[in-house]
Symmetry: C2
Subunit: 122 residues, 2 copies
DNA sequence: GTCTTTGTCAACTAGTTGGTTGATAACGCG
DNA sequence: CGCGTTATCAACCAACTAGTTGACAAAGAC
């Protein structure tokens, strides 16, 4: 089991939670402290701190230090890991879908050919 | 909370499990029955059936009917939902990263300017 | 120094997840 | 019909998750 495997586990699991996806969405616009991030939610500061830890363990986020504040920053690179995984299989699945279309086209053509054959025979 | 919200929850959660990602990977190559899919894993058939149910609930997979067999088919469309979500925020985060670079460049230029000023003053 | 702000750590709880086994349903084959 | 195959359903269990509260650490402000 490769290293990127475990990270994929963490990243997908992290983004499966709507609160955490919202945190990511907000951090995409600007860095923020834990308190600022927690403010809009009906949830304790500790809960948000935990969510941020999950995002950090997944490598989606890093935390700096500014006096007693702990500014949170979104890391873009990790997204690539996911996108690569997704694209690989989406592509294959779509190719298979295209091939199915091709097979159906072929069948149609064969039927046309048979019709032509019958017409030629008549 | 929109409808796609809940589906994002399900899709990300589904792909957070390595067994389920492996199932998706194998289904990208060809459709398969539950038994065929279960064979390589050290796990009961029922467990795999449950995993497939999770993938189905997320819309990643559909199940057909062939006598007592239940062929499983990968659906490519749902991947787009994820890709769109990811790309939106990855892009913003990268833009911010670029802007940071711009700011750093600006600072460097200012320092150069100051150096130039000092040199001019000397 | 003491007080306030900002955040983490620790312990607990309710609900969910990933697995197990056993029973059951649906279908094809003698 | 009864029998084997293929898969789902149901009940159970251990481990994890997402939230809570309370205590505490670290840093600035007084």
């Amino acid at each position: 089991m490769s290293d990127g495997m475990e990270q994929l586990n963490l990243v997908f699991a992290a983004l499966a939670d709507p609160t955490r996806r919202d945190l990511v969405a907000r951090l995409a616009c600007a860095d923020a402290t834990v308190g600022e991030l927690a403010e809009p939610y009906d949830m304790s500061l500790q809960a948000v701190s935990k969510h941020l830890k999950v995002l950090e363990d997944a490598g989606l986020v890093t935390r700096g230090k500014d006096a007693q504040r702990r500014p949170v920053h979104l890391e873009a690179e990790v997204f690539d890991l996911m996108t690569k995984w997704i694209e690989r299989y989406r592509q294959r699945a779509e190719e298979r879908y295209q091939r199915l279309d091709a097979v159906l086209d072929e069948l149609t053509n064969e039927q046309n050919q048979q019709r032509t054959d019958r017409k030629d025979a008549s």
